[in-house]
């Protein structure tokens, strides 16, 4: 029996919808971009000198089984080649790009749905021959001809094919048309669009750096790949069956080894690699302290109700999502409850004996010095969510978050109600797009810096707290049945009154999912049009109805508004779009500090005017 290899960051067959799943579509864009750049910029193709393997196809689901010729005299006799260099190189580059947050080759910069864009399309596109696009890419086709003319300096064009070169035309397949179904037919039919990949200059630069790094440390990458292969193999009756390898982990582990100056020929290299892999896994789970490379891992928050680029950086949004979630738990007094319970246990007031609950409490106490503390957390809430907490000298509090958040939710709620009624529409798709974009840009701006690693740590802390407070013995000692009853009881008895747990839980759960939606829609929100948002669709009788995606979003928004007691009148008042004076996408150093204000006042008094500087975003 041979081992099957799986690379979920290239194609994840377990996702619903398979190739049409949004995650797989995003993965496919990255896959095609790297495949194309390897071929165009470095003339690396799997077909070259590799009789065991055909060239990589545009279909990422085919990227799995590599073979090598076992007998040179019989090229048809092949055996699996698990450590094929082309494969490892490809994965190393994907991993490095993902690790650096370059998951979208278009960098969400240009609207992918418009015609005449300077991007890569498949062969059958109907393109205006007179357009600039057609001049550079006749028939919108992608070429595999070698030695292209590289020109990364100009706009988003990366290579300019010459008409005299041989052209090989390929088809990438299709993707659902963001404009929705064709309404001219009855019933409306789903339209599909030529799959397109836009590669911007910044992506090329990062790609080249990844390639350079791989070339410099290729032996180390191969060793790490071997280590991961052995570490993750599944066995059935002693036989290897499947191996799932994360490209991001490959890049992360190798980068750590590079940082530690590990020699690939070290006799203990395998042990070293195993140790680093173990460290990365423990830090990802939030239980291993602060050693991890936090950027390498995704974020998955616990369900509270269980058991009872460019302008918008999705990673920043995911980090803020966690901060938002934790802020609500803070208001709910979950953190304070844990402190109280630990205090009771320390002073011997808690009637629990040796067991997992006590172990968790002890571990909590021992790790306290390295854990993010309340002051730091509140500083984050101020910086990221604009709450008036933490340091009074916070240089960049997110003053706009509250307004933009409410405006977006109110717009979504009103739009949803309008779609499902016969009332005249007051909120357009573009208004939703603008409100979402403003919010996402704002969140992205305040998600830079320490936010992401802090979010990863806080995610682990929350999980640890929930595990601790869910311990049966601890619950029993307070005479409650679940963690939320415990929070209520401890708050009421020791923390000057209980908070509304249901409200904060709902706000936490719906709020983080709304931010997650924004992160998923980042490329579309970054574009100039609301076409890709997919707000409405048509049923079999030609009636307008919300798409499933928008339905879910609207439900979350409605839930948030309902639980905060927002009246319809109040929501309607905040649906009108607001023209923002400034909308920064990157933090400005030295802005809004007391030092600067002091200088400005002095200059004002002296009547000296300085040239205008970019300001911190204002509403």
């Amino acid at each position: 029996m041979t081992t099957k290899e799986k690379f979920p960051e290239i194609f994840n067959e377990n996702l619903p919808g398979g190739a049409t799943n949004e995650v797989n579509i995003t993965n496919k864009r990255l896959y095609l971009a790297i495949r194309h750049l390897l071929s165009e910029l470095f003339s690396i193709d799997r077909a070259n000198d590799d009789p065991g393997n055909p060239p990589l196809t545009p279909d990422p689901s085919q990227f799995k089984d590599y073979y090598k010729v076992d007998d040179p005299n019989d090229p048809s006799k092949k055996i699996p080649d698990y450590f094929n260099e082309d494969k490892i190189r490809f994965l190393a580059i994907i991993g490095q790009l993902r690790l650096a947050g370059y998951e979208d080759p278009s960098f969400a910069r240009i609207e992918r749905w418009s015609k005449y864009l300077k991007d890569v399309e498949d062969a059958d596109i109907d393109m205006d021959e007179e357009s600039e696009f057609a001049r550079l890419f006749p028939r919108g086709s992608m070429r595999t001809a070698p030695q292209p003319e590289n020109d990364v300096s100009s706009a988003n064009i990366v290579w300019v094919p010459e008409s005299s070169r041989p052209v090989k035309v390929e088809t990438f397949g299709t993707e659902p048309d963001p404009r929705g179904p064709d309404r001219s037919t009855n019933p409306p039919t789903q339209r599909f669009y030529h799959f397109r990949v836009l590669i911007v200059a910044e992506f090329i630069t990062r790609f080249t750096e990844a390639m350079q790094q791989y070339s410099a440390y290729s032996e180390l990458y191969k060793q790490v790949y071997r280590g991961l292969h052995e570490h993750s193999q599944g066995k059935f009756n002693g036989t290897q069956v499947t191996v799932t390898i994360s490209a991001k982990q490959l890049a992360d582990v190798t980068e750590r080894l590079i940082r530690d100056n590990v020699n690939p020929n070290d006799p203990n290299i395998r042990l070293t690699i195993q140790s680093v892999i173990a460290r990365t896994i423990s830090s990802a789970s939030g239980s291993g302290g602060l050693d991890g490379n936090f950027s390498a891992f995704g974020i998955s928050l616990p369900d509270l109700d269980a058991g009872t680029h460019v302008e918008i950086i999705p990673d920043n949004l995911h980090a803020v999502r966690v901060i938002y979630y934790c802020a609500q738990l803070e208001e709910m007094r979950l953190f304070a409850t844990v402190d109280t319970v630990v205090e009771h246990a320390t002073s011997g007031m808690l009637p629990i004996s040796r067991g997992p609950g006590l172990d968790r409490i002890y571990r909590w106490i021992k790790r306290a010095p390295e854990r993010i503390n309340e002051f730091e957390r509140r500083g984050l809430y101020a910086r990221v969510l604009g709450l008036a907490q933490g340091s009074v000298d916070e240089p960049l509090p997110n003053r706009e978050f509250s307004d933009l958040w409410f405006r977006f939710l109110a717009s979504v709620s009103l739009k949803f109600r309008e779609i499902t009624s016969s009332e005249r529409s007051q909120v357009s798709d573009e208004q939703i797009h603008k409100a979402g974009r403003d919010l996402a840009v704002n969140i992205s701006l305040h998600g830079y810096g320490i936010t992401a690693p802090a979010a990863i740590e806080m995610q682990g802390v929350v999980q640890e707290m929930i595990d601790m407070l869910s311990d049966t013995e601890i619950l029993r000692s307070y005479g409650v049945r679940d963690i939320w009853q415990l929070v209520d009881r401890v708050s009421a008895l020791y923390l000057n009154g209980a908070a509304n747990g249901v409200k904060f839980r709902t706000m936490a759960a719906s709020g983080e999912r709304i931010i997650s939606w924004l992160a998923r829609k980042a490329p579309i929100l970054s574009s100039a049009s609301a076409l890709g948002l997919g707000i409405t669709t048509f049923d079999g009788r030609g009636n307008r109805r919300p798409t499933n995606d928008f339905f879910t979003l609207a439900e979350l928004a409605e839930r948030w508004l309902a639980v905060t007691g927002t009246t319809d009148e109040m929501a309607e008042r905040h649906t009108d779009p607001v023209d923002l004076d400034a909308q920064l996408t990157v933090p400005m150093l030295g802005q809004n500090t007391g030092f600067q204000a002091g200088i400005q006042n002095t200059l004002d008094q002296a009547g000296i005017e300085l040239p205008a500087m970019p300001a911190v975003p204002q509403i």
């Binding site: 803070e330 809430y381 008036a388 003053r399 409200k503 905060t564 004076d581 400005q600 509403i619």
Partner: protein, 354 residues
């Protein structure tokens, strides 16, 4: 052509007033807040959409007998489109910054304790204005800074014990009173919190007697009636929508403040300022402070400092009635197309002024 923002106008006016009064310029301390709050052009009608001074520019200056040498202001933070929650956070942020900067860590801690309920990640969905910000400067710097938080009846539980107890008594004696907002102020020596009630229905001033007796300030009723009677032209029954009652716990006992919204009076006396002067004539230093304040607040190209928005009378167990005047400053709102237009049109006083 470059458009003058309301913030620039406000800063100029504050600088002028502070120079005349001999106080520190408030704009030096809250320049950023003014920029963020009044970023729209001066005279923009959208400013009228506020609950501090409905229909007018959301900035109010006040004169208080007990702080006669101070330049005091109250304002609605952030622009007219801001949400109530954003205002709560902005006012709190500014208050914390100033408190820490001028009064130190202990004062900040005190404020944080009192304001915790309003500084968290949520506000009630039906909150209307959220918060206002206020401050006062004198010759030595920041005399006081203050935040007004909108509150609901259930928020009474978040008040400090003495004030909570007093609030409950007040609401029991006069069920027409509904808590609407609370102010938390930090000064050089101490902080103070006040809770404000809106009075539904007409208020006969004499009906305050049981309330004042219960609060231990019954003996000041005559002085309260005398002052209010004169200032409001003999009116002892105040109509619905014109009365706000404030309570504050001080080290000299409970203080009651009667705020009368002049816009709520059907026929406010046109000579209200002169009547107030008449009351203050008993206390010449207060009267001269008021004159000085009025002169300081009057821009060169205006006939007067503005319109009276609120008249307040406050009493303490051992202190008879003291008055305050809240002014809607002139020059911020558009008065008409020409000097001859409706309203108190600006008329240059200085012949050499361009």
């Amino acid at each position: 052509m470059r458009v003058t923002t309301a913030s620039e106008l406000a800063k100029r006016r504050m600088e002028m007033a502070s120079r005349r009064l001999g106080t520190k310029n408030p704009a030096e301390a809250i320049g950023g807040l003014l920029d963020r709050s009044f970023h729209l052009p001066a005279h923009d009608p959208r400013y009228g959409n506020n609950l501090l001074t409905p229909g007018r520019f959301p900035l109010e200056h006040s004169f208080s007998e007990v702080a006669g040498n101070a330049l005091r202001l109250d304002m609605q933070p952030l622009g007219p489109e801001a949400t109530a929650h954003a205002r709560q956070q902005e006012a709190s942020r500014e208050m914390r910054r100033l408190t820490h900067q001028h009064y130190g860590k202990e004062a900040l801690h005190w404020f944080d304790q009192r304001s915790e309920r309003w500084r968290n990640g949520m506000s009630h969905g039906d909150t209307r204005f959220g918060a206002w910000f206020g401050m006062a400067t004198d010759a030595y710097g920041l005399q006081e800074c203050k935040v007004y938080y909108e509150m609901r009846e259930s928020d009474i539980d978040n008040l400090p014990p003495n004030l909570k107890h007093a609030a409950r008594i007040v609401m029991e004696i006069m069920p027409e009173l509904t808590p609407i907002f609370t102010s938390i102020a930090c000064g050089r020596g101490r902080g103070a919190q006040r809770v404000y009630f809106f009075h539904r229905g007409d208020l006969r001033l004499l009906d305050l007697e049981p309330l004042l007796n219960q609060l231990g300030i019954g003996k000041q009723l005559p002085s309260l009636l005398a002052a209010a009677g004169v200032i409001f032209g003999g009116r002892f029954v105040l109509p619905q929508g014109s009365v706000i009652i404030g309570l504050r716990d001080t080290n000299k006992g409970l203080e009651m403040k009667l705020d009368v919204l002049v816009a709520g009076l059907p026929d406010p006396p046109q000579q209200m300022y002169q009547l107030l002067n008449m009351v203050l004539s008993e206390r010449p230093s207060s009267q001269s402070n008021l004159h000085r304040w009025v002169q300081a607040m009057t821009p060169d190209d205006m006939q007067g400092p503005g319109e009276i928005g609120v008249i307040s009378v406050r009493v303490l167990p051992e202190t008879p009635a003291r008055c305050s005047l809240y002014l809607r400053p002139s020059g911020y709102d558009r008065q008409g197309r020409s000097a001859a237009g409706p309203g108190s049109a600006p008329q240059p006083q200085d012949a050499y002024r361009v």
